[in-house]
């Protein structure tokens, strides 16, 4: 499975990774800082309150008459509540079931029974943080000693009076809240910086990668001279170096191959050319040999005829080799003329004396006019019909029809809107399946059939080259009814 490049791309992945790192780092740092700061702030606030509270109780306790009446307790509570300038202290004093609060009718719901018991039993300062509907609050409980303290800094003996204080802790919460929002505010710029860095890093990585991709594509298109400019000395630069080395190696091997192929082709052309001069002398006198063979004794006559015939074959072979060499060298060109293809086919067959052996199904005169190279068309039809006559069995048929081109311009750059379809069929055994893909190969001979034929072994290759030169197609197949079918399509141009 492949993600689309935009989603799976290196850039997105880098951005996401950097952003994640930034967020995790800020949030973790923020959370840790928040915890430490929060604990510190709350601790400090609570210590201050407890100290102030104890001081107030200590300074006011000696003035409390003992045992205290309800009024005494009320006065005591009010005095403590107002010992500090802050007005949010709520105080409750208890003594043997009597209670007095600084705020009238205060139920003191924050005070838990456990804490009340703890103050009574342990005779020590007790505090507890509680959450109320109005926010967090600190509850402090303190037993009040009576008389003078013991010597050696001992506490005065407990009197049974307990003082409780409730202070809201909204201030501390405010600090904590601002801390949280500060962390939040820090996260956004950190995230932005992270994304920016990620984009920069991605650019640094992606630029060479993109260059590499473009260069690879150009190589694939056949521009083997493509090289990359190498910057720096990182892994990507190393990769670019490797790419350049590979491209250079590829270029030189391809150049070697081309040179070798060119040399081989030139060699074939040169050999054919060199064979021509001696063959020209031999071909000139074969008629003399043929004429006089009848007057020679039998063995000599056979030898003379053999030489004459084989000279003829050699001439055809060299002609075909020269023709193939011209195709290979790209020197083959079309000499175009507008002709009636149906007439051309009839003329081809008549010129070889096949008009009675090869059946035809041709379009009516002047319906299949087109611009072709008449000589090459003659070669195409003659080679296919000759091939059918040699390797197939009668009846051999040449069929031609004209149809609209599949798509305008589909037949090469010819711009032809019609194509001629020429079909040459025979009634022989057809072409073996393993031979079929090779019928247009040069000198291909299937070992099951004849090892030596009248043809040069280049006839069908030359036919195919001639068809391709016209921008047409050629296929070989077997008909379901038996027999080989060669199908040629030629674009029918009307303008040169």
């Amino acid at each position: 499975m492949r993600l689309p490049l935009v989603l799976g791309g290196l850039r997105i992945r880098l951005v996401v990774a950097f952003a994640l790192v930034a967020v995790v780092a800020t949030v973790t740092t923020g959370a840790l800082a928040f915890r430490a700061a929060r604990t510190g702030l709350l601790q400090q606030g609570q210590d201050t309150v407890i100290t102030q509270f104890r001081d107030a109780v200590d300074s006011l306790a000696p003035s409390l008459t003992f045992p205290p009446a309800q009024d005494d307790l009320q006065v005591f509570a009010d005095q403590i509540a107002h010992a500090q300038r802050t007005t949010d202290w709520r105080v409750m004093v208890t003594y043997q079931g009597r209670t007095a609060t600084s705020a009238p009718g205060d139920a003191f719901t924050e005070l838990t029974p456990a804490m009340r018991a703890s103050v009574r039993d342990r005779s020590a300062t007790v505090f507890q943080r509680v959450s109320t509907a109005h926010g967090p609050a600190l509850v402090v409980g303190l037993p009040v000693g009576i008389g003078t303290p013991d010597q050696d800094r001992g506490l005065p003996p407990p009197s049974g009076v307990a003082v409780f204080l409730t202070v809201p802790q909204n201030d501390a919460q405010g600090y904590v809240d601002s801390l949280v929002s500060a962390v939040e505010r820090a996260t956004v710029p950190a995230l932005l910086v992270a994304v920016l860095l990620a984009l920069l890093a991605a650019r640094g990585v992606l630029r060479p990668v993109r260059a590499l991709r473009g260069a690879t594509r150009r190589i694939a298109e056949g521009h083997l001279e493509t090289r990359l400019a190498v910057h720096g000395s990182d892994e990507l630069a190393d990769l670019s170096h490797t790419f350049n080395d590979t491209a250079a190696a590829l270029e030189s091997s391809v150049a070697d191959l081309r040179r070798m192929e060119g040399r081989a082709r030139r060699f074939a052309a040169d050999v054919s050319h060199e064979l021509r001069t001696p063959l020209a002398a031999m071909a000139a006198v074969t008629d003399v040999l043929d004429e006089d063979a009848a007057q020679l004794d039998r063995d000599t006559a056979t030898a003379v005829r053999l030489i004459s015939e084989e000279t003829g074959k050699l001439v055809r072979l060299v002609d075909d080799l020269m023709e193939i060499s011209r195709f290979d060298a790209g020197a083959a060109s079309l000499h175009l003329d507008e002709v009636d293809l149906a007439e051309s086919v009839l003329r081809t067959l008549a010129a070889r004396g096949w008009q009675d052996t090869v059946g035809t199904e041709l379009p009516p005169p002047d319906t299949a006019r087109g611009i072709v190279d008449p000589r090459r068309l003659d070669v195409i039809v003659a080679n296919l019909a000759g091939n059918a006559l040699r390797h197939g069995e009668l009846p051999v048929r040449v069929r031609m029809s004209v149809r609209a081109a599949d798509a305008p311009g589909a037949a090469g750059a010819s711009g032809a809107d019609r194509v001629a379809v020429i079909e040459v069929t025979d009634s022989g055994p057809g072409i073996p399946q393993d031979v079929l893909p090779h019928v247009f190969d040069r000198f291909y001979k299937s070992d099951t059939s004849r090892t030596r034929t009248e043809g040069s072994g280049l006839g069908l290759s030359i036919t195919a080259e001639n068809v391709h030169l016209h921008g047409g197609t050629i296929t070989a197949a077997n008909s379901p009814a038996g027999g080989a079918v060669f199908t040629v399509t030629l674009p029918l141009r009307r303008d040169v």
Partner: protein, 241 residues
């Protein structure tokens, strides 16, 4: 007996062709270089020249041009190359026909006889009007086989003359290149149509029509089909001067 001048540098080919063409009933003089050939032209007075294009010393194309300066003897060039450009240049230099080596003696003989028939006169033979006919300022004498323009004789090689006679016999009729190949060169239908194009080009040059606008020329190109002889406005054929 037709007299043949063979210019061929390769001794084996020369000897082979000499032997074979003599057996076909020709009187053959064979030389190895273009210079000898040009000399032989004056002394031997051949009816046909068979000229190898690949010659040491003076190239075959130059020999062809030098012959054409003042002689309209039919020239058949033999080329060992399959090089298309050579053929076109050779035809434009004035050759009437060409064969590609290796060539069998009977094929070359057929070409020689065809080109000799061209010298013999235009189509129609005896039916040709005894008097010269007039097409604009062009005078064609079918019996005397001469052509003149504005009173000035135009020397034409046999293929050129035969082509002009054929076309001018039916003004306005369009001939395809294949038809002309068969009628003038006696080639097969699929012969090299460049023979026709090169010959028309030479004819136009000799008639001084290369710069003439297309529809004013005697020989007009019919795009996509072939050539036709211009139908002159005055259909009456006046007797020449």
């Amino acid at each position: 007996m037709p007299r043949l001048l063979l210019i061929e540098d390769d001794p084996a080919v020369r000897e082979g062709l000499l032997l074979a063409l003599r057996r076909q009933g020709h009187e053959v003089a064979a030389v190895a270089t273009g210079e000898e050939g040009l000399a032989g032209l004056r002394t031997f007075r051949p009816d046909v020249v068979v000229l190898d294009l690949m010659l040491p010393g003076m190239p075959g194309l130059d020999v062809c041009r030098r012959i054409r300066v003042d002689d309209q003897v039919p020239i058949i060039m033999a080329t060992a190359r399959g090089d298309d450009v050579d053929i076109v240049v050779g035809l434009e230099a004035g050759a009437d026909d060409y064969v590609v080596k290796p060539v069998q003696a009977r094929v070359l003989d057929a070409r020689i006889r065809a080109v000799l028939r061209r010298v013999g006169g235009g189509p129609g033979g005896t039916e040709a009007p005894p008097r010269a006919e007039q097409h604009g300022d062009l005078t064609i004498d079918r019996a005397g086989l001469t052509v003149s323009r504005g009173g000035v004789p135009v020397p034409l090689a046999p293929s050129e003359l035969r082509l002009l006679l054929l076309l001018s016999a039916s003004p306005g009729r369009v001939f395809s290149r294949q038809q002309l190949l068969e009628a003038v060169w006696e080639h097969s239908y699929h012969g090299d149509s460049r023979l026709v194009d090169a010959c028309v080009k030479r004819l136009r040059t000799k008639l001084g029509e290369t710069a003439t606008p297309g529809d004013q020329r005697c020989i007009q190109t019919v795009r996509g089909f072939g050539y036709q002889f211009r139908r002159f406005p005055d259909p009456a054929r006046r007797a020449a001067g």
